[in-house]
């Protein structure tokens, strides 16, 4: 990286407060972020009345929620020279551990290989500061981490200065060592004891100016890449906990169905390999020597089921309820000659299932419990497990394991509660894993929703823009990381209040559209369906509706979609993104009939993003025949331009953009769940059409804008919605018809034969050797 890559955008160089913590080797605490960010020290953890999303957004809310506890996060320098940090967040593939290692390495002048980032166990004293969500982690940790690292560097320099009797100003730091005159140097490890403090004291530190940063903004490979490619990376499913035998649940043929009775418990208990069988709240649990034998046992169970919570519901009944619940659009008071542009859009249920299915290891004893799982919300998990087991919170130990993806799934810990219940019932440790089919049918989903938009336009100006979003309730009971706010969502009306707050904080209109209103309403109780975020909650669908209407508005005033956006886009950062996008994506180039470009813009998490895609909707492409594959329209090119304010890791950011783009393509063109009589039809990846190699665009380009702010914005969820919108716009232009149902193939004839619901999971094939290559 060039040395002065952010000249003119220096972080304020005033002092930050840090603590040297009493310990045998150097241990420093990150500061109370409020002391630096908000000198007047506002103490409220969760603000009462939020301002609109473009002034005070979800990133602010989540960051403010972490302020009171950030100082409890500590960085240690060990005698062997490694720097250790237990991250109170989850690593689910988003690259957070790598970004965190870069931030520490840069500020402390230590090679990144020497920074050891682990995932922290549940630490209830952190209260709000241990939830991973809202693309907020880097945003909230950036300054606390740098302050801790800077303090560690100061202490190490001071230790060397004392040792050599040289003024600290004459010493420098680089590559994990303090360097003095005449080639003298001492490694951090050798100085760690001298730099340690016998008692905890506060210190002011000065952070490096941006021009001196060498690692931040670079292109760093993931710190766990070698483990990933060698099979050494361990997920919950791979852990060896003594006695924790494979365990699965036989689930109901409808969502939230309960066991009435089981006809053959004893016979199943006697099956090969099976050790335990018993009824639990979500079905019948079986524990066996291998998961294969669990599958056999689950399939053999004869269960009488009670009904669930949505037995009579199908796509059509839910859609009718959504339509009925839509908050009416106002009749705008505009001149008679104003033209009305409107649209009504439906977005079907989508699965947030990652590739690693739900899995947790639980070892519940008489007076203690120990849990291992991929968790984004470990404190609530610990509190809930304790409550469910009738234990005190400190009797439950919760270990956070790296996850094989999340996409919103691990904000909830359903599998942990099941595993703890089963372990307590059987009196034995269990490794509880969901079958893939269950993960689609009973796992959490992005709720079905509609978005209705009406805008008015006169003489080249947009006078009004109204959007009404109506959704099956999104479960917000994960709260902001601990039990109090989680409980608040469960109170009558609480979940909708949450939904309204999050909606107001996260949704914005990116264009100057005169009088704008965006409102949300919800149907069903938060736990009738299993719902949650999926690489964002509202934004992808709200953005898709907004961008489709924007193209319609452009047409109404006789402008090209790009030129129209140039004229109406609200802020300078977004305008710069748009300009770059037009150039990088070669907007407006001549293309054959049946193919087209589409463009989408989105701002969230203090970041700005644009996507320009090209789509091929010609019959020869749409009708490509591949066995057991859904092909359809093909996105042939994606260009993403992103401004995250301040880029930490260019490589990680590009990866997140590419991945988000694959999600966006799937959500517009291919992937959804079909609800029929209280259960989803999809049961395998050959039913649920997430993007596969045959859907991948041959060309994918990510352009990272130069830094525009002093703090990093969010990136994890950013690219999904904007790509979803751009693909929808491109499809509309290629076919001449604006799509109104998403994904566009949802109401086409089903491309697969649904797996049975009884038994709930399919048997594994036996003919694998016939398909070798």
């Amino acid at each position: 990286m060039p040395a002065a890559r952010r000249t003119g955008q220096e972080v304020s160089r005033r002092g930050f407060l840090g603590w040297v913590v009493a310990a045998p080797t150097l241990l420093v605490a990150a500061p109370l972020a409020a002391a630096a960010v908000k000198p007047d020290g506002a103490g409220a953890a969760i603000p009462g009345v939020p301002e609109p999303g473009d002034l005070y957004d979800l990133s602010d809310l989540l960051t403010d929620a972490t302020l009171p506890t950030a100082m409890l996060v500590t960085v240690g320098v060990n005698q062997h020279g490694t720097v250790s940090y237990a991250l109170p967040r989850a690593e689910v593939g988003q690259g957070l551990t790598t970004a965190v290692a870069m931030i520490i390495a840069d500020e402390l002048d230590v090679p990144i290989e020497q920074v050891d980032v682990t995932l922290s166990d549940a630490r209830p004293e952190l209260v709000w500061n241990q939830i991973t969500g809202g693309s907020n982690s880097v945003h909230s940790l950036y300054t606390p981490l740098r302050t801790a690292a800077a303090l560690a560097r100061d202490r190490l320099v001071a230790a060397a200065a004392a040792k050599w009797s040289i003024a600290p100003a004459k010493l420098t730091t680089r590559a994990g060592a303090v360097h003095g005159p005449r080639g003298r140097s001492a490694s951090y490890g050798s100085l760690s004891r001298d730099a340690a403090a016998p008692r905890t004291t506060a210190h002011r530190v000065t952070l490096k100016p941006a021009s001196a940063q060498r690692v931040i903004g670079g292109a760093q490979s993931r710190i766990d890449a070698l483990d990933a490619v060698t099979g050494r990376k361990r997920f919950a499913m791979d852990l060896h906990v003594p006695g924790a035998l494979p365990t699965m649940i036989c689930r109901a043929p409808v969502i939230n169905g309960k066991v009435q009775s089981v006809g053959n418990l004893a016979a199943v208990r006697a099956m090969p390999g099976v050790t335990d069988v018993g009824v639990v709240s979500s079905g019948v649990a079986v524990r066996a020597r291998t998961f294969g034998q669990c599958i056999d046992a689950v399939r053999a169970l004869k269960v009488n089921w009670k009904g669930g919570t949505v037995d009579g519901e199908s796509d059509a009944t839910v859609l009718a309820k959504l339509k009925k619940a839509e908050i009416p659009l106002l009749v705008p008071r505009v001149p008679l000659l104003a033209k009305t542009v409107e649209g009504s859009f439906t977005f079907y249920f989508r699965s947030n299932s990652p590739l690693e299915t739900n899995c947790a290891v639980a070892d519940v004893r008489a007076d203690s419990a120990e849990i291992w799982a991929g968790l984004k919300n470990p404190i609530v998990t610990q509190q809930t497990v304790a409550q469910n087991l009738g234990m005190r919170q400190n009797q439950v130990k919760v270990h956070v394991v790296q996850s094989g993806g999340s996409f919103g799934r691990h904000l909830f810990s359903d599998v942990v509660y099941e595993a703890a219940e089963v372990s307590q019932l059987f009196g034995k440790p269990v490794k509880l894993m969901w079958h893939r089919t269950d993960d689609f049918r009973h796992g959490r989903t992005h709720p079905m929703c509609t978005s209705r938009v009406r805008a008015t336009v006169l003489g080249g100006n947009v006078l009004t823009y109204e959007q009404r979003h109506t959704s099956v309730a999104t479960d917000w009971t994960h709260g902001f990381g601990e039990m109090l706010t989680a409980m608040a969502a469960k109170l009558p009306g609480g979940n909708l209040t949450y939904a309204e707050t999050i909606f107001a904080l996260s949704q914005v209109v990116n264009y100057n559209y005169g009088v704008t209103t965006q409102l949300i309403n919800e149907i069903f109780n938060y736990d009738d369906f299993h719902t949650g975020a999926m690489r964002n909650v509202y934004s992808p669908d709200v953005c898709t509706a907004q961008e489709l209407i924007t193209d319609k508005l452009a047409k109404a005033v006789g402008k090209d979609p790009y030129a129209f956006r140039q004229a109406f886009v609200k802020d300078a950062r977004m305008k710069a993104v748009l300009t770059k996008l037009g150039a990088a994506g070669n907007w407006g180039r001549a293309m054959p009939a049946g193919t087209a470009q589409g463009i989408g813009l989105h701002s969230e998490y203090k970041s700005r993003i644009g996507a320009l895609v090209e789509i091929d909707c010609r019959p020869v492409t749409v009708n490509r025949q591949l066995a057991d594959s859904y092909t359809g329209p093909r996105v042939t090119k994606v260009v993403i331009v992103v401004d995250v304010g301040l880029t930490i890791n260019r490589r990680g950011l590009a990866a997140q953009m590419q991945g988000g783009a694959m999600d966006g393509i799937a959500q517009t063109l291919t992937s959804s769940l079909h609800l029929q009589n209280g259960i989803f039809k999809e049961g395998s990846w050959d039913n649920y059409y997430y993007t596969r190699q045959w859907n991948v665009p041959p060309k994918v380009q990510v352009v990272i804008m130069p830094d525009t702010t002093a703090a990093p914005g969010g990136a994890g969820e950013l690219a999904a919605g904007v790509t979803q919108a751009a693909v929808a716009c491109a499809y509309a232009r290629a076919t001449g018809a604006m799509p109104t149902e998403f994904p566009i193939n949802h109401n086409q004839p089903l491309g697969f034969v649904p797996l049975p619901t009884v038994p709930p999971i399919p048997q594994s094939p036996t003919d694998g050797l016939a398909h070798t290559f």
């Binding site: 689910v92 993931r222 998961f291 094989g404 594959s629 290559f773």
Partner: protein, 155 residues
């Protein structure tokens, strides 16, 4: 309970298991070899892809009794040894391109990629990529393509 024997990553192993237990569970639950991942148990997601006598297959869909004592099973853990190096060229390319995100599907992706490149005898075309069925829910597909053809030139 019958004893089954086969060659696993270059070593003869024996394991007691019922005949119809799928090889994936024998590897993971009984032998503690966790590189091959469970993603569906239906020969769909391909996260468990390994090699049998040098060819790609999915152990979730093969009964342990169908594996012969002389069959050589290679999991991601044993891949480097097949070329006598610390890392297989495909793994090196994966690191160069920094393909992985969560990493869960990556052992299966790499094992599939090695077999596909061997089958084609060089870089893959778009039509060849259409035959790679492995799911990556993080959406690393673009980098997978880049890494495969980088490695193909060196294999």
């Amino acid at each position: 309970m019958p004893t089954h024997t086969f060659v696993l990553n270059g070593e003869q192993v024996s394991v007691d298991a019922a005949d119809d237990v799928r090889l994936l569970w024998v590897l993971r639950d009984l032998l503690g070899v966790t590189g091959p991942k469970y993603g569906c148990g239906l020969e769909v997601c391909r996260a468990c892809t390994c090699h049998i006598n040098g060819k790609a297959f999915n152990p979730c869909s093969v009964r342990v009794k169908d594996i012969a004592p002389t069959d050589e099973i290679t999991t991601i853990e044993g891949l480097p040894a097949t070329v006598g190096r610390e890392l297989h060229p495909m793994q090196e390319a994966w690191l160069e391109v920094d393909v992985a995100q969560c990493g869960y599907c990556q052992p299966g992706q790499i094992m599939t990629a090695v077999a596909k490149v061997r089958q084609r005898g060089g870089p893959l075309t778009d039509a060849d990529f259409d035959e790679i069925r492995n799911i990556c829910r993080c959406g690393t597909y673009h980098r997978i393509r880049e890494a495969i053809n980088l490695a193909a030139a060196r294999m």
